[in-house]
Assembly symmetry: C2
Homo-oligomer: 170 residues x 2
């Protein structure tokens, strides 16, 4: 590695996704994986992922599971192959938004619940607590509508047969 090296555009993209997801509280490797899958779709084998991104098998295991739980990628079995394969899911982003929504709802509920046990709080205090809870309600509503937009393909290309039929990564 020379010191003035500039990596290629694909690496930039993948690393960029790593940083974006990291700034959103996710592991950087999850972002890199996501970047790779967005670029190439897949399927990629378990080992292939570790090699391409130069990460440990442990990280592949942990982060593919994370992305699988989020519905970003899906695990596929391939004829004659012992390894697990992964490819970008048909609807990769819905569950991410749904999780955000649930977290806002949880916060709102937590605040209201705590507020009930509160005493010695004047009417102004109650009002401020209510506005705080409402703030998280607004966030929940916003993510809910984002979910709708995502499903309607708002601004995006219309929903087509997203699952690749070809096996080879592009």
């Amino acid at each position: 590695m020379s010191s003035d090296m500039t990596q290629d555009a694909e690496t930039d993209f993948i690393e960029g996704m790593g940083l974006i997801l990291q700034s959103d509280g996710m592991p950087r490797i999850a972002g890199r994986l996501m970047g790779l899958f967005v670029l190439h779709g897949g399927p990629f084998s378990f080992t292939d992922l570790a090699d391409r991104l130069a990460i440990s098998r442990g990280s592949v295991s942990t982060n593919t599971r994370l992305l699988e739980d989020l519905g970003v990628i899906e695990r596929v079995a391939m004829k004659g192959e012992r390894q697990d394969f992964f490819r970008l899911a048909a609807d990769p982003y819905a569950e991410i938004v749904e999780r955000k929504r649930v977290r806002s709802i949880r916060a709102q509920e937590s605040i209201r619940r705590n507020a009930e046990t509160l005493d010695n709080i004047g009417p102004n205090g109650l009002k401020r607590v209510d506005e705080l809870a409402n703030f998280f309600g607004v966030l929940a509503t916003a993510t809910e509508r984002a979910l709708d937009d995502l499903r309607d393909g708002d601004g995006a290309l219309p929903r087509t047969n997203r699952a690749d039929t070809s096996m080879a990564a592009e």
Copy 2:
């Protein structure tokens, strides 16, 4: 501190806000401060904040500045007082949402920018990159509408003269 001690409801609320904001990527102390201000409005003096939350003056300085930048609280000067005072802002949550919006836009732009330099990416790849960028666009739009809801006081009490006229913390 006895081992089976249960703190009072106010402390629960404040600590709860600490955890909620921490889960959103902010310092826990910022959340605690926010909880205190929501409960009592303020104004609180700099020293008072350090005492009530049992945190260092350094943390008070850092986190009040953070919340001030976010527009959650505002610094106020009090007649005959040398210390800085802080109180909950009139519209505490707008800037938080606006920052979320900007971050989504930035991500979208970053993706599109990186995508431009990409080559050797088939039409499917381009489509997936576009859908990814669109995803962040949807998030940006959602937060934008959340901002509107917040301004309209959607679901919340109508906008009134939020700034306390009384000096004493409730």
